[in-house]
């Protein structure tokens, strides 16, 4: 149990339970809490400084996100990472991301174009500043997430956007897993710019095909460099 130490209380939400949910989520996505690891209450209490009940509520939330598995009467554990799960997430993401990107290309106005361009610009600046493997850097991760969020932000459906966000997080955990073992980062800069250009040019067919390849190749990379960490199949 090498969770994030007890930090300043209530960083994220108004209630402690929401706060701890976020911190636990980050620890799981960053793989500080390892896939499959049992989440015992005694240890969590020590690490997060909260009571059984509050921790239970946080774990229940994360179960809904697919990051934690609850086994009734036998406690909780971090969701394992498997090939099947990675394939499932990847295919589902492609379906939903394409739908939302198409809608955004149709409906997005000036503000959308500006958001897409500026988030990509920020991402580029961060990549210049950080040499080598920036994928593990939290600043890069936030900027990366914000770029992809901007792309689909005019998808209009709160439900679909919520699902997308949840899947993005689950995928990010796999990315973090492979980042530990990847020798050199591939040219994501170019990929991102191409997607941006196709989107701004309102070329739906090209943009969606690029997003498809982008998501797929990210997943392939995980299989390539972290397959030894995936249990089952």
């Amino acid at each position: 149990m090498t969770a994030s130490a007890v930090k300043s209380r209530k960083e994220f939400g108004k209630t402690l339970a929401v706060d701890i949910t976020h911190r636990l989520r980050q620890d799981i996505v960053a793989c500080r809490l390892k896939p499959g690891e049992p989440l015992k209450f005694d240890a969590l209490k020590l690490a997060f400084g909260a009571s059984f009940t509050t921790l239970r509520e946080a774990l229940t939330s994360l179960t809904a996100d697919g990051l934690v598995i609850a086994e009734e009467q036998r406690g909780f554990r971090v969701a394992p990472v498997t090939s099947d799960d990675l394939i499932d997430i990847t295919q589902t993401r492609i379906l939903i991301e394409i739908e939302l990107l198409s809608r955004s290309i149709t409906d997005g106005g000036d503000d959308w174009e500006i958001a897409v361009m500026s988030t990509l610009h920020r991402l580029g600046r961060i990549e210049e500043r950080l040499p080598g493997n920036h994928v593990e850097n939290p600043e890069w991760q936030i900027a990366h997430r914000q770029f992809h969020e901007a792309l689909v932000s005019c998808g209009r459906s709160p439900t679909l956007l919520g699902i997308r966000a949840s899947l993005f997080e689950r995928a990010e955990r796999y990315r973090n897993l492979s980042a530990m073992f990847r020798p050199q980062p591939r040219d994501k800069v170019g990929e991102h710019r191409a997607i941006m250009q196709a989107a701004i040019a309102r070329d739906t067919a090209l943009a969606t095909s690029l997003i498809d390849r982008h998501i797929r190749s990210t997943s392939d990379n995980v299989v390539k460099y972290a397959s030894h960490l995936l249990t089952e199949s």
Copy 2:
């Protein structure tokens, strides 16, 4: 607060919290707990015979399903029903249901065909037995859900199937809302049979187009007969 009374403990799950989650879910979907209604702990304690903590865990679960809204520091309430939400759910369902049905038509074998036919047959028998408005009948609802589940059961993606199930429930709440005011049930029998036949005939284009219309017309029916209950817009 006219929730289901204190029933036999642990009907659904091993733990009390899971059990209460299911019972609360049913009460919300059936509109025994009204949209927008505040869910106060004192009242819930009385109705379900559980403690603060256990109820809190149940409500947290349902928040993830979109059936309950949590307002930090100000408690929980049943998710309101709105036009925008209905449209959102409907469009998202169409996207996902079409994808899963297509996959099932491609991948489904003998077992799938048998499941589709037999669940439809059961649904028909129930409709014969129950004259008039059977939509509110729990037996019909279960059979109806099982038919639609059978149709998409070979979609292969646990994630997508989980999302689908959650959306189906949210939609069912709207159906129950309009059922209270609908004079006569429309010919769902014929619609369901047509979908079944197209699916078994492996006619993906026809089957998906029928499902699209089926979901859309269900939603239109809600707007037609229950629009006065939808807040906003």
